[in-house]
């Protein structure tokens, strides 16, 4: 029998306000094996930890139970504490009497009763604990960044500058992401291309960075330090080693009717195309669906035009498998198409555009060469209405519940840019709230109102109608308590942003968790904001939640710092709580190997002595360096041959027994 010490933490008033800690100590003292029990205000403090260390020495404790917060919070802390006092760190058990008890109970009597039960379960478990020892696994010193927008680029540059190799996988033919489509950036109004292009070029030219553009992540295996990722290279039908990006093929291509994604479909592009002038890598790509050659086998103008001989219609998908120590998710966002917001007439009127479409209209490299004109007739608008929060902060099923965060600021930017070019245009912004937290953000917004004379009206637009070639906007002014009916030549919708649709399948491949909006969840909302709860997976940019460029870049560098910290290690200490198989019970049925997400289980023919018979049997063998201790195999094994160290079947049964007593 173990000699067990029980340490009940008050956590200030977090626990002590709803749990009678003294009563818990008294009750747990009576549990079998308990030789010492006490309570303390903050067990995780230095003096609290010393209390544990002293008791281990004084009472010769062989097992320790700490009744405190979640093991996710302080299990590592207390493992170090008991280890410092000479115990094996796995002789510690945590009873979570905070998250699972004091925080969810209001009644002290109930809370105390439950805390005693949870403590008793941990005591029953620690009775069956055995010292465990970790193995180590080597770290592959290369990182993968999924997504080549500003987030992915910044993360990759920082990791590469620290001396580690980085691969960027980008599904589009070029890196650059959404930022490359922007005109100017708030709050300084510098041109997006001017500040992004150098970074794209740096990423393309960096000796430690390898770009996999027009590629997708196909499969992810392995675990922190040792991921194995299969990347699908989609066929460009262009030999990347020969193409010089001269664009001669683009000029000759007779298929010119494909909506240009880069310009939000406001103009058309050819079947063979270079996404935009600053694309990195600057390579042409053939859109197979639009290409005449792929339709009828004819044409071939690009082949005849290309002096480098780079066109290759026979390219097929290729799969590349590489090893990585860390993976950064930087999958970014899209603006929703407000097609089911009929009241704004987005589907019917060309003059109703989203803000990203407006961004392209304003851009010198955009479909109108930067001339602010109405898409319907090419004439300059006399008045423009901006509508905020389209699809954000809503409660209906077509809305996002969250604030898209960037719209207030880019709308102020748009309004200002319009006024800057054409002071005669009347600009009105309808808003619910104007949110401008951020350095120099409120000053920026106030400039729009005070210096540029943009009309800000608190209230939402209820309806947009088209009559006599103009738009009639119906809205309410909540501050003046009146209805407004005004003419507008253009209406710009600040449509909500949402995570890229590929994010969910990537999350599944990475076993990284997501919230209900498909944003990646961080390991801790406040203390570990750039790490996923899945070890070795890091988050960069809007994939984690709406962000503007400064925040994205800050988070991208933070993620890079975490990756560098991981890759700087030569070895990682493996989880000691790993599975193992009892070869006399093993049926060799392979079900455990089937469920193992890490490929940690193999089968061997072994000579087994069972019930007096010696025979060769096919039995499961666990590679302890690969096993992550998830326990899927133990619950799958019908004979109970598979068991998990530290969470053994008999330990769990003992806990259940203690709870049900």
């Amino acid at each position: 029998m173990q000699k067990i010490g029980v340490f009940v933490c008050w956590c200030g008033s977090n626990i002590a306000a709803t749990v009678d800690v003294a009563a818990v100590v008294e009750a747990l003292k009576k549990q079998p094996g308990v030789v010492y029990a006490t309570d303390y205000q903050y067990m995780c403090s230095a003096s609290g930890q010393n209390l544990i260390k002293d008791a281990i020495k004084e009472y010769g404790l062989t097992g320790v139970v700490v009744c405190s917060c979640s093991p996710r919070m302080h299990e590592a802390t207390f493992r170090k504490t008991v280890q410092a006092a000479g115990l094996n760190p796995y002789m510690l058990e945590i009873a979570n009497i905070r998250e699972q008890c004091s925080w969810i109970h209001k009644d002290i009597k109930e809370g105390t009763e439950k805390a005693i039960i949870l403590g008793a379960a941990a005591i029953a478990k620690v009775q069956l604990n055995a010292p465990l020892y970790s193995q180590t696994s080597p770290v592959v010193k290369r990182a993968l960044v999924i997504g080549g927008g500003i987030a992915g680029i910044q993360t990759a540059l920082d990791i590469a500058d620290a001396g580690f190799e980085v691969d960027i996988v980008e599904k589009k033919p070029t890196i650059g992401g959404k930022m490359s489509q922007l005109d100017k950036t708030f709050p300084t109004l510098d041109c997006a291309a001017c500040i992004l292009t150098p970074k794209m070029v740096d990423a393309g030219a960096h000796e430690k960075i390898n770009l996999y553009t027009y590629c997708e992540v196909e499969k992810v295996e392995g675990f922190v330090g040792n991921f194995s990722v299969t990347i699908k290279q989609k066929p460009r039908y262009i030999d990347a080693t020969k193409c010089t990006g001269c664009g001669a093929c683009v000029e000759k291509c007779p298929s010119k009717k494909t909506p240009n994604e880069f310009n939000m479909g406001l103009d058309n592009r050819t079947a063979i195309y270079i996404p935009f002038a600053q694309a990195v890598p600057k390579l042409a790509v053939i859109d197979k669906d639009a290409c005449i050659h792929f339709k009828n086998g004819k044409c071939g103008l690009c082949v005849r035009t290309c002096e480098a001989g780079a066109i290759n219609y026979d390219q097929t998908e290729e799969f590349i498998t590489r090893e990585y120590g860390a993976i950064v998710v930087a999958t970014g966002f899209n603006q929703i198409k407000p097609t089911n917001f009929d009241e704004y007439l987005y589907n019917q009127s060309k003059d109703v555009v989203t803000s990203l479409e407006f961004e392209r209209i304003m851009n010198a490299a955009g479909p109108t060469k930067g001339h602010l004109v109405r898409p319907s007739n090419g004439k300059q608008p006399k008045n423009i209405v901006f509508v905020q929060c389209v699809g954000s902060r809503g409660t209906s099923c077509r809305d996002k519940s969250y604030c898209s965060k960037i719209c207030c600021m880019y709308t102020a930017k748009h309004a200002m840019l319009v006024k800057d070019h054409h002071p005669e245009i009347d600009v009105t912004v309808f808003y619910i709230d104007v949110r401008t937290p951020g350095k120099n953000f409120d000053e920026f917004y106030r400039r729009a109102v005070e210096q540029y004379g943009v009309h800000y009206i608190k209230g939402m637009v209820g309806k947009v109608e088209e009559a006599d070639g103009t738009l009639k906007v119906q809205a309410s002014d909540l501050l003046d308590n009146r209805q407004i009916l005004m003419d507008a030549d253009m209406v710009v919708l600040a449509a909500a942003i949402e995570p890229d649709p590929t994010a969910r399948s990537i999350a599944t491949m990475l076993t990284a968790s997501m919230d209900t909006n498909d944003f990646f969840t961080e390991a801790h909302a406040k203390l570990r904001p750039v790490e996923s709860p899945t070890a070795g997976i890091f988050l960069s940019g809007v994939c984690q939640g709406p962000k503007d460029i400064p925040e994205t870049v800050a988070q991208a560098s933070a993620a890079a710092a975490k990756v560098i910290g991981l890759l700087a290690k030569d070895h990682l200490l493996c989880n000691a709580c790993v599975a193992h198989s009892d070869e006399t019970l093993c049926n060799g049925c392979s079900q455990c190997a089937n469920v193992c997400a890490y490929g940690a289980i193999t089968y061997e023919d072994r000579l087994v002595m069972d019930k007096g018979v010696r025979e060769t049997r096919r039995v499961a063998v666990v590679n302890e360096a690969i096993c992550q201790g998830c326990g899927a195999c133990t619950v799958t094994c019908p004979s109970g041959a598979m068991d998990l160290r530290g969470f053994a079947n008999n330990q769990i049964m003992a806990e259940v027994d203690a709870i049900c007593k």
Binding site: S505, N587, C589, S590, N594, V595, P638, S639, G640
Partner: protein
């Protein structure tokens, strides 16, 4: 059936004589003609081999212990037996290189209890006669409709096609068909429609008949653990189960969980139950749920596909949906 038996005997003798196999796993009559049970034959006693409407027993499970020698054993597999056979091969419990699997046709096996329930006793033989059965008894000949007395498994027959086998006695396309005469999921749907209390009472009543003879476990082709958790003192499970006032509940429910996703719905558990507990309904409920959550799946249809409960795909339905439906 008579012609099939003749063909079968001819084929068995050929395989024994040419040395392909040295033993045959088949059926042997017991005290009564309808007591056909699995048995292993050699050249010497092959005359005792039986193959008639009472040979419902699934042969595949017995290969786990019988197919362990250098010389191959001949397994006589009815179409539905081949599903269990495949499942055992998939789980490495039967080594197919030690088996010569002969697919034999089947026209539906009968449940002797159903015949007896019709008032026909003293049975001495059985013969097919179109949609009817001619039953010889010590009181003279009797007859009944075949559909009324088929084993539950045969009423929802998986079809005449074998999904495994080194050789077919006759090609599947030429084989006779067992017409399916019941809806496989009707009983499960009836249980699902019950209130929780009704369903609880239904199973309490049924399972209270259990005498823990372990026949279901011993006949089940999915229950092939070297040491069953219920026989393993170290697992603590048997002691725990005995501790409740209703150990049979736990035994059958745990067994159903252990075979979930692997059960081919062969119905042996119910067929062998001396207390006539409809145990197959537990498994069939799992099968129905698995089909609905993860797409149609037939355990043992091949030897390679991962089971729906031991594989993860991006198309899997979300756990929240399973949770919601599970309530």
């Amino acid at each position: 059936m008579r012609e099939i038996k003749e063909l079968l005997v001819q084929k068995i003798n050929e395989l024994l004589d040419n040395g392909t196999v040295d033993r045959v796993a088949g059926w042997k009559a017991g005290e009564f003609c309808y007591d056909a049970a699995p048995a292993v034959f050699t050249k010497e006693n092959i005359d005792e081999l039986l193959y008639n409407g009472f040979c419902g027993a699934n042969q595949s499970k017995f290969l786990v212990n019988a197919a362990t020698t250098e010389n191959r054993i001949l397994a006589l597999l009815k179409p539905c037996d081949t599903y269990s056979y495949n499942q055992l091969v998939k789980e490495h419990r039967v080594d197919p290189s030690r088996v010569y699997a002969l697919g034999i046709p089947c026209t539906g096996m009968v449940d002797v209890n159903k015949i007896k329930a019709l008032g026909i006793t003293g049975i001495t033989g059985i013969e097919e006669d179109g949609e009817n059965l001619k039953i010889a008894t010590i009181y003279g000949d009797a007859s009944c409709k075949k559909c009324d007395v088929l084993l539950e498994r045969c009423m929802v027959c998986k079809g005449k096609n074998h999904v495994a086998g080194d050789e077919m006695l006759i090609p599947d396309e030429e084989a006779p068909e067992t017409p399916s005469c019941a809806d496989r999921m009707a009983e499960v749907a009836r249980l699902e429609a019950m209130t929780e209390e009704e369903r609880f009472n239904f199973w309490r009543e049924q399972l209270s008949k259990c005498i823990r003879c372990n026949a279901c476990r011993n006949a089940c082709p999915a229950c092939t653990c070297r040491t069953c958790v219920f026989d393993n003192a170290k697992s603590g499970l048997a002691a725990k189960v005995n501790n409740t006032d209703f150990e049979e509940n736990m035994f059958h429910i745990i067994r159903a969980f252990h075979v979930a996703g692997r059960c081919t719905d062969c119905g042996e558990c119910s067929r062998v139950c001396p207390q006539n507990i409809p145990l197959h309904l537990l498994n069939r409920k799992f099968i129905k749920d698995i089909n609905e959550f993860y797409g149609e799946f037939q355990a043992g249809a091949d030897t390679t596909t991962k089971g729906p409960l031991t594989s993860f795909t991006k198309e899997d339905c979300e756990p929240s949906i399973v949770m919601e439906r599970g309530e």
